[in-house]
């Protein structure tokens, strides 16, 4: 008979030990990616909330007694068109923001241009501080209305978070790691591509998420310059003083923003380098 029992090991359990597989699959997967409880909550709660609220809205829409103006504006076909327009505005502006800000941000951490970084950030900050309605109206006076004017306005508005986070993300990479990379013979470009960018990705993606939400919210102003979007429901509600339209518009925009923020978090998680 064995007298001694082996004490439990103090070392962290191997990823391949059976204890680890006992938990449910998604929890194990998230835990291994280093995702905390808070993040898990942020991933699960918003889509549930959005879904519940939307179901509530559908029930109300199908059962409420609406006058002709309301019924016309709240037709499912109209709402779908406005939602698609809104998504289109958001997506196109976001792509433009990413394509401009990330390379610009990288450039502003390299060599001699590095010194211009505070200046560029300052300008971007000032742009961000200007009221969004003002920016869009100014662009309207200058370029006329329509989809692309709205896109320019939204892109200008969304650049700052991505630009700032790209610069901070790269600057925050441990300088000894950069020196180690150069020390083992990576060129400056290889160091950027293999070390600095992968390690900066979480910070950059957080910027992209902020930017997405900002753009999705600001896109509700696009209707003022004939570029459509869910703002139209809100605007009609205000001009014709229909309370139901105002609430519907505000609600749908808020739900969309929450959903986009959630997608941003998923992207952040997907792009986070392993081991960090």
């Amino acid at each position: 008979m064995s007298v001694e029992t082996h004490p439990p090991t103090a070392a962290p359990p191997d990823p391949d030990t059976p204890e680890d597989r006992d938990g449910t699959a998604p929890r194990g997967w998230l835990a291994r990616k280093g995702v905390g409880r808070e993040t898990v909550t942020m991933l699960v709660v918003p889509p549930l909330l959005v879904a519940l609220t939307f179901i509530g809205f559908v029930v109300w829409r199908q059962t409420a007694e609406l006058d002709s103006v309301e019924a016309n504006q709240l037709q499912w076909g109209t709402l779908r068109r406005l939602l698609l327009e809104h998504l289109q505005l958001t997506a196109v502006a976001a792509v433009i923001v990413v394509v401009i800000s990330i390379p610009l941000g990288i450039a502003l951490t390299r060599g001699g241009i590095k010194r211009a970084a505070p200046l560029v950030i300052g300008i971007a900050n000032a742009g961000q501080a200007a009221p969004s309605v003002g920016l869009i109206v100014l662009l309207f006076l200058w370029l006329g209305g329509g989809f692309w004017t709205a896109i320019i306005g939204l892109s200008l508005y969304g650049i700052l978070p991505v630009l700032r986070n790209t610069i901070t993300g790269i600057q925050a990479v441990d300088p000894t790691l950069v020196e180690a990379a150069r020390g083992v013979g990576m060129t400056s470009t290889e160091t950027l591509r293999k070390i600095e960018l992968p390690l900066a990705v979480p910070v950059i993606m957080a910027g992209v998420r902020t930017s997405l939400v900002l753009i999705a919210g600001t896109a509700s102003l696009a209707c003022f310059i004939d570029a459509g979007g869910l703002g139209e429901v809100l605007q009609t509600g205000i001009t014709l003083f229909r309370f139901s339209l105002m609430v519907t518009g505000a609600l749908l925009i808020a739900l969309l923003a929450l959903l986009i923020e959630w997608i941003g978090r998923l992207l952040e998680l997907a792009y986070r380098p392993k081991g960090v």
Partner: protein
């Protein structure tokens, strides 16, 4: 080596006078100056020195003396203001800096592993830059993990944060050696780990160096480390001025000036402890038993030898525990848990390390292991003090003979 051709060929050069394999090459610095703009005095003030092929040279000095700057000029992380540096006779400015660095190993404090890469990817960084084939890189990675004492199957796919400090440092050493560079630069390589781990890593490095014979330049702030690891020690003062550049024995026996004497420390006789290795001592015999052996038999043998504990070995003759007899008496078959805290002493460890280990164990003695952690014997306090007395006596004799 039986014949010596006067025209030395690389094949001749590959072994030194003791027949040890040498894969390193000579490094020579001539009148190297580094002046930073806006500073009155140069950080490195006309440094000239030769690092012989296959030797370990330790750079040591007070902080800010320019030792790290001097090191980084060898792989052009810092460009000298003037002067020349040659490696194997070739001026390093004649080569592209990035390509030069791929042929020089670089090991940094704490390992500086890339956190988003697995252990294998970290080691493979330089082979990939040199465009080795996948298979060759993978084979080399296995080989190196084995060399630094990590189980490849277990650690290859782990990320750095899943490793202990000592393990990270081991991977850092493996990364530095990946492309088999003739020259390896180390910047306080073992500064970030605890003393026991540091001692282990130093012993392992000595073993690796014995096998490979690289030219190693290593910056340290620990004089005991310098004495233990260095074939030569270079003591710097402010501005990277050379105060003394000699073997540890000579520096301890005859410090060139007061600066060196102060730096090496007043207790130089005690520092000699860092020069003598455990394998120079007569190791004591101890009662050993294998896991699962008859406990009563082991107790009997230990009592016959007048000992109150038994060294328990595993099936590969590695010591795993050192239990007292009273514990074994209650067992029929020896069954002891593997004790993580069992600190053993490599046979290449210094007497200084041996005393450290004894102080931290409850036995006033330490288990000595050889290659692959195989059990060799036990060294006790008595034999260390005897060795010191013998050394002192012979030193006195030598002095009397001279006068």
């Amino acid at each position: 080596m039986t014949t010596q051709d006067p025209t030395s060929t690389p094949a001749d050069r590959s072994r030194d006078s003791d027949g040890r394999r040498i894969s390193g090459v000579e490094i020579e610095l001539t009148d190297v100056v580094k002046r930073y703009s806006g500073q009155k005095t140069p950080a490195v003030h006309s440094l000239s020195l030769t690092v012989p092929a296959g030797e370990v040279v330790m750079f040591i000095g007070p902080s800010g003396c320019g030792k790290t700057t001097s090191l980084k000029m060898i792989n052009r992380l810092i460009e000298p203001t003037s002067g020349t540096i040659t490696i194997d006779g070739q001026d390093i400015r004649g080569r592209d800096a990035d390509e030069l660095r791929r042929t020089i190993g670089y090991v940094i404090q704490g390992g500086s592993l890339f956190p988003h890469m697995t252990v294998a990817d970290n080691i493979a960084v330089v082979p990939k830059l040199l465009k080795w084939s996948k298979q060759k890189t993978a084979e080399r990675t296995e080989e190196l993990l084995d060399l630094v004492g990590l189980d490849a199957g277990k650690y290859r796919d782990r990320y750095p944060r899943e490793l202990s400090g000592g393990q990270q440092q081991r991977v850092g050493v493996a990364r530095g050696l990946a492309a088999d560079p003739p020259v390896v630069l180390m910047d306080e390589p073992f500064g970030a780990v605890d003393p026991i781990t540091r001692q282990r890593l130093q012993d392992e490095m000595l073993g690796i160096q014995r096998e490979l014979g690289k030219t190693i330049v290593c910056v340290t702030h620990d004089i005991d480390e310098a004495i233990k690891l260095g074939d030569r020690i270079l003591i710097f003062s402010e501005g990277a001025r050379i105060e003394q550049y000699d073997t540890p024995e000579n520096i301890l026996a005859a410090p060139a000036n007061d600066f060196v004497a102060d730096f090496v420390g007043a207790g130089s006789t005690l520092k000699q402890l860092s020069l003598a290795r455990v394998n120079e001592l007569q190791l004591g015999e101890w009662t050993t038993a294998q896991l699962g052996d008859d406990a009563a038999d082991a107790v009997r043998r230990a009592e016959a030898a007048g000992q109150d504990c038994v060294v328990v070995l595993d099936d590969r003759k590695r010591p795993i525990a050192w239990p007292w007899l009273r514990r074994l008496r209650s067992q029929t078959r020896i069954d002891v848990p593997r004790r993580e805290e069992l600190v053993t002493l490599d046979r290449r460890a210094t007497l200084n390390d041996a005393l450290d280990t004894m102080l931290s164990s409850s036995h006033a003695a330490a288990i000595v292991t050889g290659d692959r952690d195989e059990y060799l014997g036990v060294v006790d306090f008595e034999s260390v003090t005897q060795h010191i007395r013998a050394q002192e006596a012979s030193a006195v004799e030598a002095q009397e003979a001279r006068s």
